[in-house]
Protein backbone atom coordinates (compact mmCIF):
# COMPACT_ATOMS: atom_id res chain seq x y z
CA UNK A 1 0.00 0.00 0.00
CA UNK A 2 1.57 3.28 -1.02
CA UNK A 3 -0.91 5.91 0.11
CA UNK A 4 -3.15 6.22 3.13
CA UNK A 5 -6.09 4.99 1.11
CA UNK A 6 -5.88 1.75 -0.85
CA UNK A 7 -6.43 2.11 -4.59
CA UNK A 8 -9.96 1.30 -5.61
CA UNK A 9 -9.15 -0.17 -9.01
CA UNK A 10 -12.22 -0.01 -11.18
CA UNK A 11 -14.52 -0.37 -8.22
CA UNK A 12 -17.70 1.70 -7.93
CA UNK A 13 -19.12 3.10 -4.72
CA UNK A 14 -22.35 2.26 -2.94
CA UNK A 15 -24.27 5.14 -4.54
CA UNK A 16 -23.36 4.14 -8.09
CA UNK A 17 -23.98 0.46 -7.31
CA UNK A 18 -27.49 1.25 -6.09
CA UNK A 19 -28.18 3.47 -9.11
CA UNK A 20 -27.20 0.70 -11.51
CA UNK A 21 -29.34 -1.82 -9.65
CA UNK A 22 -32.33 0.54 -9.71
CA UNK A 23 -31.85 1.06 -13.46
CA UNK A 24 -31.98 -2.71 -13.84
CA UNK A 25 -35.19 -2.86 -11.77
CA UNK A 26 -33.52 -4.55 -8.80
CA UNK A 27 -34.15 -3.64 -5.17
CA UNK A 28 -30.88 -3.64 -3.25
CA UNK A 29 -31.20 -5.46 0.08
CA UNK A 30 -28.88 -5.27 3.03
CA UNK A 31 -28.67 -6.77 6.53
CA UNK A 32 -27.51 -5.37 9.84
CA UNK A 33 -24.62 -7.60 10.80
CA UNK A 34 -21.57 -7.36 13.00
CA UNK A 35 -19.41 -9.81 14.95
CA UNK A 36 -16.49 -9.31 17.32
CA UNK A 37 -14.33 -11.82 15.52
CA UNK A 38 -12.83 -10.89 12.18
CA UNK A 39 -13.23 -14.47 10.95
CA UNK A 40 -16.97 -14.42 11.67
CA UNK A 41 -17.25 -10.94 10.17
CA UNK A 42 -15.67 -12.06 6.91
CA UNK A 43 -17.80 -15.22 6.82
CA UNK A 44 -20.90 -13.06 7.30
CA UNK A 45 -19.97 -10.74 4.43
CA UNK A 46 -19.24 -13.71 2.15
CA UNK A 47 -22.61 -15.27 2.97
CA UNK A 48 -24.44 -12.01 2.25
CA UNK A 49 -22.57 -11.65 -1.03
CA UNK A 50 -23.54 -15.21 -2.03
CA UNK A 51 -27.23 -14.74 -1.15
CA UNK A 52 -29.64 -14.95 -4.12
CA UNK A 53 -30.27 -11.21 -4.06
CA UNK A 54 -28.69 -7.88 -5.06
CA UNK A 55 -26.93 -7.17 -1.80
CA UNK A 56 -24.78 -4.64 0.00
CA UNK A 57 -22.66 -5.97 2.84
CA UNK A 58 -22.76 -4.48 6.31
CA UNK A 59 -20.23 -4.15 9.07
CA UNK A 60 -22.25 -3.15 12.13
CA UNK A 61 -20.07 -1.90 14.96
CA UNK A 62 -20.41 -2.88 18.62
CA UNK A 63 -21.78 -0.42 21.15
CA UNK A 64 -18.50 0.09 23.04
CA UNK A 65 -16.95 1.30 19.80
CA UNK A 66 -19.99 3.50 19.09
CA UNK A 67 -19.52 5.18 22.45
CA UNK A 68 -15.78 5.55 22.08
CA UNK A 69 -15.09 3.24 25.05
CA UNK A 70 -12.21 1.55 23.26
CA UNK A 71 -10.82 0.22 26.54
CA UNK A 72 -13.96 -1.82 27.13
CA UNK A 73 -13.92 -3.03 23.52
CA UNK A 74 -10.28 -4.11 23.83
CA UNK A 75 -10.92 -5.89 27.15
CA UNK A 76 -13.91 -7.72 25.68
CA UNK A 77 -11.93 -8.78 22.60
CA UNK A 78 -9.02 -10.12 24.64
CA UNK A 79 -11.36 -11.85 27.08
CA UNK A 80 -13.14 -13.48 24.16
CA UNK A 81 -16.48 -11.89 25.15
CA UNK A 82 -19.02 -11.75 22.35
CA UNK A 83 -19.65 -8.13 21.43
CA UNK A 84 -22.79 -6.97 19.65
CA UNK A 85 -20.81 -5.84 16.62
CA UNK A 86 -17.41 -5.51 14.95
CA UNK A 87 -14.91 -3.39 16.93
CA UNK A 88 -13.41 -1.59 13.94
CA UNK A 89 -11.24 0.78 15.98
CA UNK A 90 -9.86 -2.06 18.12
CA UNK A 91 -8.86 -4.63 15.53
CA UNK A 92 -5.67 -3.60 13.68
CA UNK A 93 -6.26 -1.87 10.33
CA UNK A 94 -4.70 -4.84 8.53
CA UNK A 95 -7.28 -7.12 10.13
CA UNK A 96 -10.17 -5.05 8.79
CA UNK A 97 -8.51 -4.85 5.37
CA UNK A 98 -8.23 -8.65 5.40
CA UNK A 99 -11.93 -8.92 6.32
CA UNK A 100 -12.98 -7.06 3.17
CA UNK A 101 -10.14 -8.09 0.86
CA UNK A 102 -11.53 -9.94 -2.14
CA UNK A 103 -15.06 -9.69 -0.71
CA UNK A 104 -15.86 -6.04 -1.26
CA UNK A 105 -15.75 -5.28 -4.99
CA UNK A 106 -17.72 -3.65 -7.80
CA UNK A 107 -20.48 -6.21 -7.35
CA UNK A 108 -20.54 -5.91 -3.58
CA UNK A 109 -20.17 -2.60 -1.72
CA UNK A 110 -19.70 -2.76 2.05
CA UNK A 111 -21.14 -0.17 4.41
CA UNK A 112 -20.17 0.52 8.02
CA UNK A 113 -23.13 1.05 10.38
CA UNK A 114 -22.66 2.35 13.88
CA UNK A 115 -24.67 4.90 15.91
CA UNK A 116 -22.14 7.38 17.27
CA UNK A 117 -22.47 11.05 18.14
CA UNK A 118 -18.69 11.22 18.25
CA UNK A 119 -17.60 9.04 15.34
CA UNK A 120 -14.14 10.50 14.76
CA UNK A 121 -12.33 7.28 15.69
CA UNK A 122 -14.82 5.32 13.57
CA UNK A 123 -14.31 7.43 10.46
CA UNK A 124 -10.54 7.28 10.99
CA UNK A 125 -10.65 3.48 11.25
CA UNK A 126 -12.96 2.90 8.30
CA UNK A 127 -11.09 5.28 6.02
CA UNK A 128 -7.78 3.68 7.01
CA UNK A 129 -9.22 0.29 6.09
CA UNK A 130 -10.27 1.59 2.67
CA UNK A 131 -14.02 1.67 3.31
CA UNK A 132 -16.07 4.44 1.73
CA UNK A 133 -19.72 3.96 2.72
CA UNK A 134 -21.21 4.66 6.11
CA UNK A 135 -24.19 6.29 7.80
CA UNK A 136 -25.47 8.35 10.70
CA UNK A 137 -25.97 12.05 11.23
CA UNK A 138 -25.56 14.89 13.74
CA UNK A 139 -29.12 14.64 15.07
CA UNK A 140 -30.12 11.05 14.40
CA UNK A 141 -27.02 9.62 16.07
CA UNK A 142 -27.18 11.99 18.99
CA UNK A 143 -30.65 12.63 20.36
CA UNK A 144 -31.93 9.07 20.48
CA UNK A 145 -28.67 7.74 21.87
CA UNK A 146 -26.76 8.61 24.95
CA UNK A 147 -25.72 11.89 26.44
CA UNK A 148 -23.39 13.68 24.03
CA UNK A 149 -24.62 17.31 23.78
CA UNK A 150 -26.16 18.13 20.41
CA UNK A 151 -23.70 20.95 19.70
CA UNK A 152 -20.79 18.54 20.16
CA UNK A 153 -22.43 16.03 17.85
CA UNK A 154 -22.96 18.69 15.19
CA UNK A 155 -19.29 19.67 15.47
CA UNK A 156 -18.12 16.05 15.28
CA UNK A 157 -20.31 15.21 12.31
CA UNK A 158 -19.28 18.38 10.44
CA UNK A 159 -15.65 17.39 10.89
CA UNK A 160 -16.20 13.76 9.87
CA UNK A 161 -18.44 14.58 6.89
CA UNK A 162 -15.86 17.00 5.57
CA UNK A 163 -12.99 14.52 5.90
CA UNK A 164 -15.10 11.71 4.45
CA UNK A 165 -16.11 13.81 1.42
CA UNK A 166 -12.43 14.45 0.69
CA UNK A 167 -11.86 10.74 0.12
CA UNK A 168 -12.75 11.39 -3.50
CA UNK A 169 -9.45 13.22 -3.86
CA UNK A 170 -7.62 9.97 -3.19
CA UNK A 171 -9.89 7.42 -4.80
CA UNK A 172 -12.08 7.17 -7.89
CA UNK A 173 -14.91 5.98 -5.66
CA UNK A 174 -17.43 8.61 -4.55
CA UNK A 175 -17.87 8.19 -0.79
CA UNK A 176 -21.48 7.59 0.22
CA UNK A 177 -23.08 8.83 3.42
CA UNK A 178 -26.56 7.78 4.56
CA UNK A 179 -28.66 9.77 6.98
CA UNK A 180 -30.26 7.84 9.83
CA UNK A 181 -32.75 10.71 10.26
CA UNK A 182 -35.65 8.61 9.03
CA UNK A 183 -35.54 6.50 12.18
CA UNK A 184 -35.42 8.66 15.35
CA UNK A 185 -36.09 6.28 18.27
CA UNK A 186 -37.47 3.68 15.88
CA UNK A 187 -41.12 4.27 16.61
CA UNK A 188 -43.79 6.79 17.57
CA UNK A 189 -42.22 9.72 15.73
CA UNK A 190 -44.83 10.91 13.21
CA UNK A 191 -43.60 10.43 9.61
CA UNK A 192 -43.46 14.12 8.70
CA UNK A 193 -40.73 14.78 11.23
CA UNK A 194 -38.80 11.68 10.09
CA UNK A 195 -38.94 12.94 6.52
CA UNK A 196 -37.87 16.43 7.60
CA UNK A 197 -34.90 15.15 9.60
CA UNK A 198 -33.77 12.85 6.81
CA UNK A 199 -33.77 15.78 4.38
CA UNK A 200 -32.12 18.15 6.87
CA UNK A 201 -29.29 15.74 7.61
CA UNK A 202 -28.81 15.20 3.88
CA UNK A 203 -28.52 18.99 3.50
CA UNK A 204 -26.00 18.96 6.36
CA UNK A 205 -23.89 16.31 4.59
CA UNK A 206 -24.04 18.29 1.34
CA UNK A 207 -22.95 21.44 3.16
CA UNK A 208 -19.76 19.58 4.11
CA UNK A 209 -19.04 18.35 0.62
CA UNK A 210 -20.68 14.94 0.42
CA UNK A 211 -22.11 14.36 -3.06
CA UNK A 212 -23.44 10.82 -2.84
CA UNK A 213 -26.14 10.59 -0.22
CA UNK A 214 -28.76 8.10 0.93
CA UNK A 215 -31.87 9.34 2.72
CA UNK A 216 -33.67 6.96 5.02
CA UNK A 217 -37.18 6.24 6.13
CA UNK A 218 -38.10 3.63 8.72
CA UNK A 219 -41.34 1.73 8.14
CA UNK A 220 -43.90 2.84 10.73
CA UNK A 221 -47.39 1.69 11.67
CA UNK A 222 -49.56 2.22 8.59
CA UNK A 223 -48.63 1.24 5.01
CA UNK A 224 -50.61 4.04 3.36
CA UNK A 225 -49.08 6.67 5.62
CA UNK A 226 -45.63 5.20 4.94
CA UNK A 227 -46.14 5.45 1.18
CA UNK A 228 -47.19 9.05 1.59
CA UNK A 229 -44.06 9.70 3.66
CA UNK A 230 -41.61 8.17 1.19
CA UNK A 231 -43.20 10.09 -1.70
CA UNK A 232 -42.92 13.28 0.36
CA UNK A 233 -39.28 12.43 1.05
CA UNK A 234 -38.56 11.93 -2.66
CA UNK A 235 -40.26 15.18 -3.57
CA UNK A 236 -38.36 17.18 -0.95
CA UNK A 237 -35.07 15.63 -2.06
CA UNK A 238 -35.84 16.45 -5.69
CA UNK A 239 -36.56 20.03 -4.66
CA UNK A 240 -33.74 20.61 -2.20
CA UNK A 241 -30.92 18.32 -3.36
CA UNK A 242 -30.75 18.93 -7.11
CA UNK A 243 -26.95 18.92 -7.23
CA UNK A 244 -26.07 15.66 -5.47
CA UNK A 245 -26.92 12.07 -6.26
CA UNK A 246 -29.27 10.51 -3.74
CA UNK A 247 -31.36 7.42 -3.23
CA UNK A 248 -33.89 6.31 -0.65
CA UNK A 249 -33.22 3.48 1.79
CA UNK A 250 -36.11 1.93 3.70
CA UNK A 251 -35.52 0.40 7.12
CA UNK A 252 -37.75 -2.52 7.93
CA UNK A 253 -39.69 -1.69 11.11
CA UNK A 254 -37.35 -0.49 13.87
CA UNK A 255 -39.75 -0.69 16.82
CA UNK A 256 -40.85 -3.65 18.94
CA UNK A 257 -40.71 -6.36 16.32
CA UNK A 258 -43.16 -9.23 15.72
CA UNK A 259 -42.04 -12.20 17.79
CA UNK A 260 -43.43 -14.97 15.56
CA UNK A 261 -41.65 -16.10 12.39
CA UNK A 262 -44.80 -15.49 10.30
CA UNK A 263 -45.24 -12.01 11.77
CA UNK A 264 -41.60 -11.16 11.15
CA UNK A 265 -41.74 -12.35 7.54
CA UNK A 266 -44.97 -10.54 6.86
CA UNK A 267 -43.76 -7.19 8.12
CA UNK A 268 -40.62 -7.64 5.99
CA UNK A 269 -42.90 -8.38 3.02
CA UNK A 270 -44.70 -5.09 3.68
CA UNK A 271 -41.40 -3.23 3.89
CA UNK A 272 -40.47 -4.62 0.46
CA UNK A 273 -43.85 -3.53 -0.89
CA UNK A 274 -43.31 -0.07 0.56
CA UNK A 275 -39.95 0.18 -1.21
CA UNK A 276 -41.32 -1.10 -4.51
CA UNK A 277 -44.41 1.10 -4.59
CA UNK A 278 -42.51 4.28 -3.74
CA UNK A 279 -39.44 3.83 -5.90
CA UNK A 280 -37.10 3.36 -2.93
CA UNK A 281 -33.87 1.82 -4.18
CA UNK A 282 -32.54 -0.01 -1.12
CA UNK A 283 -33.94 -1.87 1.88
CA UNK A 284 -32.41 -2.86 5.20
CA UNK A 285 -34.03 -6.11 6.27
CA UNK A 286 -34.85 -7.57 9.66
CA UNK A 287 -34.91 -11.25 10.54
CA UNK A 288 -37.17 -13.67 12.41
CA UNK A 289 -34.73 -13.42 15.34
CA UNK A 290 -35.16 -9.65 15.71
CA UNK A 291 -37.52 -9.78 18.70
CA UNK A 292 -35.35 -12.30 20.53
CA UNK A 293 -31.63 -11.78 19.92
CA UNK A 294 -28.95 -10.77 17.48
CA UNK A 295 -29.55 -12.80 14.29
CA UNK A 296 -27.23 -15.47 12.94
CA UNK A 297 -25.67 -15.22 9.49
CA UNK A 298 -28.14 -17.84 8.21
CA UNK A 299 -31.12 -15.90 9.54
CA UNK A 300 -29.87 -12.78 7.79
CA UNK A 301 -29.40 -14.65 4.52
CA UNK A 302 -32.92 -16.02 4.84
CA UNK A 303 -34.33 -12.50 5.31
CA UNK A 304 -32.36 -11.18 2.32
CA UNK A 305 -33.57 -14.09 0.19
CA UNK A 306 -37.18 -13.53 1.25
CA UNK A 307 -36.95 -9.79 0.55
CA UNK A 308 -35.41 -10.27 -2.89
CA UNK A 309 -37.95 -12.92 -3.87
CA UNK A 310 -40.80 -10.67 -2.71
CA UNK A 311 -39.37 -7.70 -4.60
CA UNK A 312 -39.58 -9.71 -7.82
CA UNK A 313 -43.30 -10.29 -7.28
CA UNK A 314 -44.18 -6.61 -6.77
CA UNK A 315 -44.45 -4.58 -9.94
CA UNK A 316 -42.14 -1.61 -10.11
CA UNK A 317 -44.46 0.60 -12.11
CA UNK A 318 -42.51 3.82 -12.18
CA UNK A 319 -44.37 6.30 -10.06
CA UNK A 320 -43.92 9.85 -11.31
CA UNK A 321 -41.74 11.74 -8.85
CA UNK A 322 -44.56 13.96 -7.62
CA UNK A 323 -47.54 11.67 -7.76
CA UNK A 324 -49.32 11.33 -4.45
CA UNK A 325 -46.72 13.57 -2.84
CA UNK A 326 -48.93 16.57 -2.26
CA UNK A 327 -50.08 15.23 1.07
CA UNK A 328 -50.48 16.08 4.72
CA UNK A 329 -47.11 14.44 5.39
CA UNK A 330 -45.46 16.53 2.67
CA UNK A 331 -47.03 19.75 3.95
CA UNK A 332 -45.87 19.11 7.53
CA UNK A 333 -42.38 17.98 6.49
CA UNK A 334 -41.98 20.97 4.19
CA UNK A 335 -43.04 23.36 7.00
CA UNK A 336 -40.53 21.78 9.40
CA UNK A 337 -37.67 21.92 6.89
CA UNK A 338 -38.47 25.53 5.94
CA UNK A 339 -38.62 26.65 9.56
CA UNK A 340 -35.16 25.20 10.15
CA UNK A 341 -33.65 26.59 6.95
CA UNK A 342 -35.19 30.01 7.61
CA UNK A 343 -33.54 30.24 11.01
CA UNK A 344 -30.09 30.96 9.57
CA UNK A 345 -27.58 30.38 6.79
CA UNK A 346 -25.63 27.62 8.56
CA UNK A 347 -27.45 24.29 8.66
CA UNK A 348 -25.60 23.04 11.73
CA UNK A 349 -26.46 26.12 13.77
CA UNK A 350 -30.00 26.08 12.43
CA UNK A 351 -30.46 22.52 13.67
CA UNK A 352 -29.23 23.51 17.14
CA UNK A 353 -31.43 26.58 17.22
CA UNK A 354 -34.44 24.59 16.05
CA UNK A 355 -34.18 21.99 18.78
CA UNK A 356 -33.68 24.72 21.37
CA UNK A 357 -36.77 26.58 20.22
CA UNK A 358 -38.89 23.50 19.63
CA UNK A 359 -39.16 23.77 15.83
CA UNK A 360 -37.92 20.21 15.94
CA UNK A 361 -38.91 18.06 18.91
CA UNK A 362 -38.84 14.26 19.08
CA UNK A 363 -41.68 12.67 21.05
CA UNK A 364 -40.52 10.64 24.08
CA UNK A 365 -36.85 11.46 23.53
CA UNK A 366 -35.06 11.73 26.90
CA UNK A 367 -32.00 13.61 25.63
CA UNK A 368 -31.45 16.87 27.55
CA UNK A 369 -31.22 18.87 24.29
CA UNK A 370 -34.67 17.74 23.14
CA UNK A 371 -37.44 19.99 24.42
CA UNK A 372 -39.85 17.12 25.00
CA UNK A 373 -43.11 19.00 24.45
CA UNK A 374 -44.47 16.79 21.66
CA UNK A 375 -46.47 13.60 22.03
CA UNK A 376 -47.78 11.11 19.50
CA UNK A 377 -50.11 8.14 19.41
CA UNK A 378 -51.18 5.30 17.18
CA UNK A 379 -54.66 6.06 15.85
CA UNK A 380 -57.39 3.47 15.37
CA UNK A 381 -56.51 3.16 11.66
CA UNK A 382 -52.93 2.35 12.64
CA UNK A 383 -51.60 5.74 11.52
CA UNK A 384 -49.17 7.68 13.69
CA UNK A 385 -50.56 11.05 14.69
CA UNK A 386 -49.66 14.02 16.82
CA UNK A 387 -51.29 14.15 20.25
CA UNK A 388 -49.41 17.35 20.98
CA UNK A 389 -47.35 19.33 18.46
CA UNK A 390 -45.60 21.31 21.19
CA UNK A 391 -43.87 24.28 19.55
CA UNK A 392 -43.47 22.64 16.14
CA UNK A 393 -44.27 25.12 13.34
CA UNK A 394 -47.07 22.92 12.04
CA UNK A 395 -49.88 24.03 14.35
CA UNK A 396 -51.75 25.48 11.37
CA UNK A 397 -51.62 22.11 9.59
CA UNK A 398 -52.48 19.70 12.37
CA UNK A 399 -55.46 19.40 14.60
CA UNK A 400 -53.79 17.75 17.57
CA UNK A 401 -56.02 15.34 19.43
CA UNK A 402 -55.17 16.52 22.91
CA UNK A 403 -54.64 12.89 23.89
CA UNK A 404 -51.42 13.78 25.60
CA UNK A 405 -51.91 11.97 28.91
CA UNK A 406 -49.54 9.05 28.60
CA UNK A 407 -49.68 6.04 30.91
CA UNK A 408 -47.25 3.13 31.12
CA UNK A 409 -49.92 0.75 29.84
CA UNK A 410 -50.90 3.16 27.03
CA UNK A 411 -47.29 3.60 25.99
CA UNK A 412 -46.70 -0.15 26.01
CA UNK A 413 -49.81 -0.68 23.94
CA UNK A 414 -48.68 1.89 21.38
CA UNK A 415 -45.15 0.51 21.34
CA UNK A 416 -46.35 -3.04 20.83
CA UNK A 417 -49.27 -2.36 18.47
CA UNK A 418 -47.33 -3.44 15.39
CA UNK A 419 -45.99 -6.57 17.03
CA UNK A 420 -49.48 -7.53 18.15
CA UNK A 421 -51.02 -6.90 14.76
CA UNK A 422 -48.44 -8.93 12.86
CA UNK A 423 -48.19 -11.78 15.33
CA UNK A 424 -51.93 -12.37 15.13
CA UNK A 425 -52.63 -14.93 12.45
CA UNK A 426 -54.76 -13.06 9.99
CA UNK A 427 -54.56 -12.56 6.26
CA UNK A 428 -55.60 -8.93 6.06
CA UNK A 429 -53.37 -6.32 7.62
CA UNK A 430 -54.63 -2.78 7.07
Amino acid sequence: MTGAVPAAGGRIGLGEFVRRAADAGELVVQPRMGFSSSTAMRAGLLAVKAAPATTVGTITLDSYTRLGDLGAAARAVSAGEDLNGYPIATHPVRTTRAVIDGVRDTAFPVQVRHGSADPRHIFAALVAAGLDATEGGPVSYCLPYGRVPLDESVRNWAHCSELFARLREYSPVEPNLETFGGCMLGQLCPPSQLVALSVLEALFFRRYGVRSIAVSYAQQTNPRQDQEAVRALRRLCAELLPDVTWHVVIYTYMGLFPATPHGARRILTHAVELARTTGAERLIVKTVAEAHRIPTIAENVEALTHAAATAHTVSTTAVPEHEGSDSQTYAEARALVEAVLDSGPDIGRSLLHSFKSGYLDIPYCLHPDNLGRTRSYVDTDGALRWADTGLLPIGHLVRASGRSRVTAAGLMEALSSVRRRYDTVREEVP
Binding site: S63, Y64, R66, L67, D69, A72, A76, E81, D82, L83, N84, G115, P144, Y145, G146, R147, L185, G186, Q187, L256, H292, R293, I294, Y364, C365, L366, H367, P368, G372, R373, V406, T407, A408, L411, M412, L415
Partner: protein, 154 residues
Protein backbone atom coordinates in the same frame (compact mmCIF):
# COMPACT_ATOMS: atom_id res chain seq x y z
CA UNK B 1 -36.25 14.83 35.07
CA UNK B 2 -38.47 14.57 32.03
CA UNK B 3 -41.95 15.95 32.14
CA UNK B 4 -43.35 12.46 31.66
CA UNK B 5 -43.29 12.35 35.44
CA UNK B 6 -46.44 14.23 36.25
CA UNK B 7 -48.15 12.36 39.09
CA UNK B 8 -47.59 14.00 42.44
CA UNK B 9 -48.77 12.89 45.83
CA UNK B 10 -49.11 16.00 47.93
CA UNK B 11 -50.28 14.30 51.12
CA UNK B 12 -48.69 16.43 53.86
CA UNK B 13 -45.98 14.78 55.87
CA UNK B 14 -45.68 11.84 53.55
CA UNK B 15 -42.41 11.31 51.76
CA UNK B 16 -42.72 9.48 48.50
CA UNK B 17 -40.09 6.86 47.89
CA UNK B 18 -37.65 7.81 45.18
CA UNK B 19 -36.41 5.55 42.45
CA UNK B 20 -33.55 6.19 40.10
CA UNK B 21 -34.12 4.62 36.69
CA UNK B 22 -31.03 4.32 34.54
CA UNK B 23 -29.60 2.79 31.42
CA UNK B 24 -26.12 1.27 31.61
CA UNK B 25 -22.94 2.68 30.14
CA UNK B 26 -22.98 1.17 26.67
CA UNK B 27 -26.74 0.98 26.06
CA UNK B 28 -28.44 3.67 23.98
CA UNK B 29 -31.99 2.34 24.23
CA UNK B 30 -34.57 4.53 25.97
CA UNK B 31 -38.08 3.08 25.42
CA UNK B 32 -37.45 0.69 28.30
CA UNK B 33 -36.53 3.69 30.48
CA UNK B 34 -39.54 5.77 29.41
CA UNK B 35 -41.82 2.83 30.22
CA UNK B 36 -40.26 2.19 33.63
CA UNK B 37 -40.50 5.89 34.51
CA UNK B 38 -44.23 5.92 33.74
CA UNK B 39 -44.85 2.62 35.53
CA UNK B 40 -43.02 3.65 38.70
CA UNK B 41 -44.68 7.09 38.72
CA UNK B 42 -48.08 5.47 38.50
CA UNK B 43 -47.13 3.21 41.42
CA UNK B 44 -46.50 6.31 43.49
CA UNK B 45 -42.74 6.71 43.33
CA UNK B 46 -40.80 9.85 42.60
CA UNK B 47 -38.71 8.91 39.60
CA UNK B 48 -35.43 10.34 38.43
CA UNK B 49 -34.75 9.05 34.93
CA UNK B 50 -31.06 9.32 34.13
CA UNK B 51 -31.58 8.29 30.51
CA UNK B 52 -29.34 6.18 28.28
CA UNK B 53 -25.59 5.50 28.29
CA UNK B 54 -24.99 6.44 31.91
CA UNK B 55 -21.31 6.01 32.80
CA UNK B 56 -20.60 4.25 36.12
CA UNK B 57 -19.19 7.42 37.72
CA UNK B 58 -22.30 9.42 36.87
CA UNK B 59 -24.53 6.65 38.18
CA UNK B 60 -22.60 6.51 41.47
CA UNK B 61 -22.65 10.31 41.80
CA UNK B 62 -26.40 10.53 41.16
CA UNK B 63 -27.12 7.79 43.69
CA UNK B 64 -24.91 9.47 46.31
CA UNK B 65 -26.67 12.81 45.75
CA UNK B 66 -30.22 11.57 45.48
CA UNK B 67 -30.08 8.76 48.05
CA UNK B 68 -32.90 6.85 46.30
CA UNK B 69 -34.86 4.02 47.89
CA UNK B 70 -34.22 1.88 44.84
CA UNK B 71 -32.08 1.83 41.72
CA UNK B 72 -33.55 0.22 38.61
CA UNK B 73 -31.06 -0.57 35.86
CA UNK B 74 -32.46 -1.53 32.49
CA UNK B 75 -30.62 -2.70 29.40
CA UNK B 76 -31.62 -4.32 26.13
CA UNK B 77 -28.50 -4.24 23.94
CA UNK B 78 -26.94 -7.52 25.05
CA UNK B 79 -24.10 -5.97 27.05
CA UNK B 80 -26.24 -5.66 30.19
CA UNK B 81 -24.60 -8.51 32.07
CA UNK B 82 -21.15 -6.97 31.55
CA UNK B 83 -22.09 -3.33 32.12
CA UNK B 84 -24.56 -4.14 34.90
CA UNK B 85 -22.06 -6.18 36.92
CA UNK B 86 -19.42 -3.49 36.58
CA UNK B 87 -21.87 -0.75 37.59
CA UNK B 88 -23.07 -2.79 40.58
CA UNK B 89 -19.50 -3.27 41.79
CA UNK B 90 -18.85 0.47 41.44
CA UNK B 91 -21.94 1.20 43.52
CA UNK B 92 -21.12 -1.37 46.20
CA UNK B 93 -17.61 0.05 46.52
CA UNK B 94 -19.17 3.08 48.22
CA UNK B 95 -20.19 2.30 51.78
CA UNK B 96 -23.07 4.80 51.55
CA UNK B 97 -24.57 2.70 48.75
CA UNK B 98 -23.85 -0.72 50.21
CA UNK B 99 -27.48 -1.23 51.26
CA UNK B 100 -29.17 0.46 48.30
CA UNK B 101 -31.58 -2.00 46.68
CA UNK B 102 -30.39 -2.47 43.07
CA UNK B 103 -32.25 -4.43 40.42
CA UNK B 104 -31.44 -4.98 36.76
CA UNK B 105 -33.67 -6.14 33.96
CA UNK B 106 -34.05 -6.41 30.21
CA UNK B 107 -32.32 -8.37 27.48
CA UNK B 108 -29.04 -8.79 29.28
CA UNK B 109 -27.00 -11.07 27.01
CA UNK B 110 -26.33 -11.28 23.27
CA UNK B 111 -27.49 -14.90 23.01
CA UNK B 112 -31.02 -14.73 24.41
CA UNK B 113 -31.21 -15.65 28.08
CA UNK B 114 -28.25 -15.45 30.40
CA UNK B 115 -26.22 -18.45 31.45
CA UNK B 116 -26.42 -19.37 35.13
CA UNK B 117 -22.85 -18.10 35.51
CA UNK B 118 -23.69 -14.70 33.99
CA UNK B 119 -26.70 -14.40 36.25
CA UNK B 120 -24.70 -15.39 39.31
CA UNK B 121 -22.08 -12.81 38.42
CA UNK B 122 -24.69 -10.05 38.41
CA UNK B 123 -25.95 -11.17 41.81
CA UNK B 124 -22.42 -11.53 43.18
CA UNK B 125 -21.56 -8.05 41.91
CA UNK B 126 -24.33 -6.60 44.03
CA UNK B 127 -27.63 -6.77 42.16
CA UNK B 128 -30.49 -7.79 44.43
CA UNK B 129 -32.63 -9.13 41.60
CA UNK B 130 -32.26 -9.88 37.88
CA UNK B 131 -35.29 -9.71 35.59
CA UNK B 132 -34.83 -11.16 32.16
CA UNK B 133 -37.19 -10.16 29.42
CA UNK B 134 -40.23 -12.43 29.75
CA UNK B 135 -43.97 -12.19 30.26
CA UNK B 136 -43.47 -12.64 34.00
CA UNK B 137 -40.73 -10.07 34.45
CA UNK B 138 -42.96 -7.07 35.21
CA UNK B 139 -45.10 -9.12 37.61
CA UNK B 140 -42.00 -10.33 39.43
CA UNK B 141 -40.63 -6.78 39.49
CA UNK B 142 -43.87 -5.48 41.00
CA UNK B 143 -43.76 -8.11 43.74
CA UNK B 144 -40.22 -6.98 44.49
CA UNK B 145 -41.45 -3.38 44.72
CA UNK B 146 -44.25 -4.22 47.12
CA UNK B 147 -41.80 -6.09 49.34
CA UNK B 148 -39.39 -3.14 49.49
CA UNK B 149 -38.73 -2.01 53.07
CA UNK B 150 -39.44 1.52 51.97
CA UNK B 151 -40.65 4.37 54.13
CA UNK B 152 -43.13 5.27 51.42
CA UNK B 153 -45.23 2.21 52.05
CA UNK B 154 -45.69 2.87 55.74
Amino acid sequence: MSELTTARDDTPGRRRATVVVSGVASDAHTWNLVFLELLLSELGFDVANLGACVPDELLVRECLERRPDLLVLSSVNGHGHIDGARAARALRDRSALAALPVVIGGKLGVAGSLTAAQRDELLAAGCDAVYEDSVDAITAFRSFLSALPSRAFR
